[in-house]
Subunit: 543 residues, 2 copies
């Protein structure tokens, strides 16, 4: 049986090494077989009722408006809602208590929380399916093991940083024949109450790094999910509360803030002077507003326009299949989804010949169709559309005048839509430089690799990019491409084929968002992600 100390030590080592590491296996078959049914039943019993297991005290109301994108039925779950002042008062009331919890204990409690969450991975998968529209596989992995690995990565990074200096020091300064001795005490002081604002597509994965990092650093957290995707993170918060409670620490260290789309409370919370740290995942407009707030430490992940550049390949079909899958997976609703695919009018070089531009496009369209028209693979890969707004974005691009290469079609069951694929030219500036989150793929016909690279680079710098996929077999060109994209702080993935897609970012290895371009100012999970949540204070006393 692993102790929390073993888990922590391995995670710290993994952080440095950045090789493959996972505490929570991603495959659902790695977990006891009955867990699937247990999780399914637990989910069913959550529906149409009052969510159990959240500390609430005197909540003002029970609210909830989630609707399953899969069957369009309301989940019917009501959550205990507090007004923002009450949430902040609660958080403030446990500030000193949490500050006084030793770092070791904080790590222990949070790893205990992860072990409790693990038992509910399957329940969380169903919760995620019916709030985000994801397939079972993605919902299980993203909200379960992948999120928990990322949370553990945050715990480990924070542990390392919080224990980085000797805490009790005897400082003896030689002064010729005598000396002066000061006793010094170095303490990482938490910044204050934190707010973690979640998104609707990855309500757990994108929120747990902030929640766990904050508690490690001593900041009580208010987790504010998107009103359409509460259930998965509600389970997480309740299990953290259970772990806190088991360690005799107040459950108020982490609270869930519930609101509705008609009566949002996020701004009220964010603007409150007692909120000192904010983590935000979501669109640009609200993200820019959050970043403009004064006197707070802000971590954001906003819009990203991820580019793909096809230049030269070994096996074109393998490349096209990999790209088609990456582009249609979860209907483009990942922050890492590729959106702008750049192909030079000169075509794509292969070992045997140069494949013409039109032929490449045709292969891509065929590959996409093979996925979406396959009754076994298609629905699970496309999954459902989380938000109705996606349809208006599809319509907007469809009617923009861009050449339509693949017609989108709305599905009959649930909220689904096959991807719209359009062809753009360099002159379609606005479409190229705008994120169209959802099932929209843009193929951009350029005059050369340099042209493709220049547009992609400029776009990353101006509008943000989280990742970039490049197919290129020339070592000198690869070096050049890396160097260019580094200038706009965008990592490049080269030559992906087979069962690994550009959308994937693994805990303990891939930093998620670099923090260097408009896609966001924070990075999961570098040292900045935790160090900015506390302040070193060093007291001294003469001996």
């Amino acid at each position: 049986m692993d102790t929390y100390k073993d888990i922590l030590t391995r995670a710290i080592n993994a952080n440095k090494k950045r090789e493959f590491y996972s505490q929570y296996p991603e495959h659902h078959k790695a977990y006891p077989e009955p867990w699937f049914e247990i999780g399914k039943e637990a989910h069913a019993s959550n529906l149409n009722g009052y969510f159990k297991g959240l500390e609430f005290g005197k909540n003002v109301d029970w609210i909830g408006e989630e609707v399953s994108p899969v069957n369009l039925k309301p989940l019917g779950i009501k959550y205990p809602a507090h007004d923002s002042e009450n949430l902040i008062r609660n958080a403030l009331s446990v500030k000193t208590e949490l500050k006084n919890v030793p770092i070791e204990t904080r790590a222990q409690v949070l790893i205990d929380a992860l072990e409790r969450i693990k038992i509910r991975f399957f329940e969380m998968a169903f919760a995620t399916i019916h709030t985000t529209g994801q397939s079972f596989m993605m919902a299980f992995q993203a909200s379960g093991p992948h999120a928990s690995d990322r949370a553990l990565e945050a715990i480990a990074t924070a542990y390392q940083e919080l224990t980085r200096y000797n805490s009790d020091v005897s400082w003896e300064k030689p002064m010729g024949k005598s000396s002066i001795t000061l006793k010094k005490e170095f303490k990482p002081i938490p910044k204050g109450v934190a707010l973690a604002i979640g998104c609707s597509t990855f309500p757990v994965w994108n929120s747990v790094p902030a929640i766990f990092a904050n508690i490690m650093c001593g900041n009580p957290v208010i987790a504010k999910p998107h009103p359409s995707a509460i259930l998965p993170i509600a389970i997480v918060v309740s299990e953290i509360q259970n772990a806190l409670n088991a360690a005799r620490i107040s459950r108020k260290v982490v609270q869930l803030a519930i609101d509705t789309s008609n009566n949002p409370i996020t701004k009220k919370l964010a603007e409150n002077a007692n909120i000192k740290v904010i983590d935000y995942t979501g669109g640009n407009e609200f993200g820019n507003y959050i970043e403009s707030l004064k006197g707070k430490t802000i971590f954001t992940e906003k819009s990203a326009i991820n580019s793909v550049i096809l230049d030269s390949v070994n096996e074109l079909p393998a490349v096209i299949d990999n790209l088609a899958f990456a582009a249609v997976l979860y209907s483009g609703q990942m922050c890492t989804s590729p959106q702008n695919i750049f192909i030079s009018e000169k075509g794509v070089k292969t070992k045997e010949r140069v494949v013409g531009y039109s032929e490449v496009i045709e292969m891509f369209l065929q590959s996409v169709k093979q996925i979406i028209e396959n009754p076994k693979i298609g629905p699970g890969t496309l999954a459902s559309i989380q938000n109705e707004n996606c349809f208006s974005r599809v319509k907007g691009v469809y009617h923009s005048g861009a050449k339509v290469l693949l017609e989108p079609s709305k599905g009959e069951r649930g909220r689904t839509c096959t991807p719209l694929i359009v062809e753009l030219k360099n002159s379609n500036k606005e479409l190229i430089t705008t994120e169209h989150f959802g099932p929209i793929v843009k193929i951009i016909k350029t005059v050369s690799l340099d042209d493709s690279l220049s547009i992609a680079k400029n776009n990353a710098e101006q509008n943000g990019a989280i990742t970039c996929l490049v197919h290129c077999t020339d070592p000198n060109l690869k070096t050049k491409i890396k160097s260019e994209m580094e200038e706009v702080f965008t990592p490049v993935s080269f030559n992906l084929t087979g069962y690994f897609w550009v959308n994937q970012h693994a805990a303990f290895s891939d930093f998620h968002v670099t923090g260097g371009n408009p896609a966001g100012n924070a990075s999961f999970t570098d040292a900045n992600f935790v160090n900015q949540r506390f302040v070193w204070v060093g007291h001294r006393e003469m001996v």
Copy 2:
């Protein structure tokens, strides 16, 4: 003979331990005896001429307006001045070159620079005396060994952070019977051109951490000194350039930006979109402007109102003597100078008795007088006033209606002024909450320790504090005071007597400024101080 690797390794260890450590002994007698005369002569030969040893190319002008605060004579030194566009163009031209210099080499070159600077410590001492007005002892220590230790601390912290992850990684993900392998490359990418804006009182000490951290992180630096205190940092910059040149790296990696008080160029530089990182030391007004600039990483040290609280002591005379020295040292022109001294009307507890408020004041005034009237100690302790504006601040407080306890007096030789000491009450809000940089000490009569603590705490939170000195012998009260001041991110020094003063902040041990209150957002030299200067980018390639 130490190799740079030995020096670096010891500095990294010292950073973690935070015990006493110094690479450059602070006592001038630790250096070869002839260095004093050599330095003095070198300084004399700098006067009334064109400053030698700075890379300049086609500089637009030779300018300089420094005047010695000690003898009020112009130094007559002209420095090569470039317009801001030219400086930025130069910096941009070496961006890629510096980015490609390996981390090891950067550390080696910068430690070589420190070793070259060491040889000019005495020359820098005279340069510092005749620009800042400091005494020889302070000028030697602050600009020489103390600054170099702080620079080395920055090199070591940056080295640790830049090498924190494995750079070339084979990431192999098991997939049942097969596996997927990605080659990954993790690179710390420099943020871009940096600007280091210096202050007039500690032109070297406050600037070298930023300059050295930036070069370590790969950011070309433009050092912008205060026009009245150029010479000391000009020497530093020229020696860094020499070290770069010896390693066949362009001197343009660090440049000196010269201007005059009538034609300042700092805003032009700061607002240029190519400036990505700014470090600033100086007053609040300009500091707030710097902090308001968008799209840049900003590190500031601004105003601070440092409090002293006298509650209970073992030996009152030793306490009073220590405090008097701290308060008058360099005429209060240190960012760590104590300014607000809180004494309860109930007096100060000693082992034998409670010493009444008036008696404590009297002792303090006597102790101050003993220092300033002592012909051997006084002038060197008070040193000179760097800036004429100090006199108007003295006048302002003098005529504010506050009760004057000690009359200030302007000296006859050079620009000097003995301290003005006033008594305030809680009702004198504006005087209590305003920094009056210079020879001004405020004694604040409160009703209790709680009252003192509450005003000091509130002041730190609202107006900033870098340090706080408390005399208290009760362990429970000490714990409470620490806890209260931690909430406003202000370190407390307890019970200092003898040859250690609250003004002192030692490299490798005391973090300078916590970054948690309005005194500044940066801290010498925690991990944030370097990590925010670069961005991690991780490339991947399928194997």
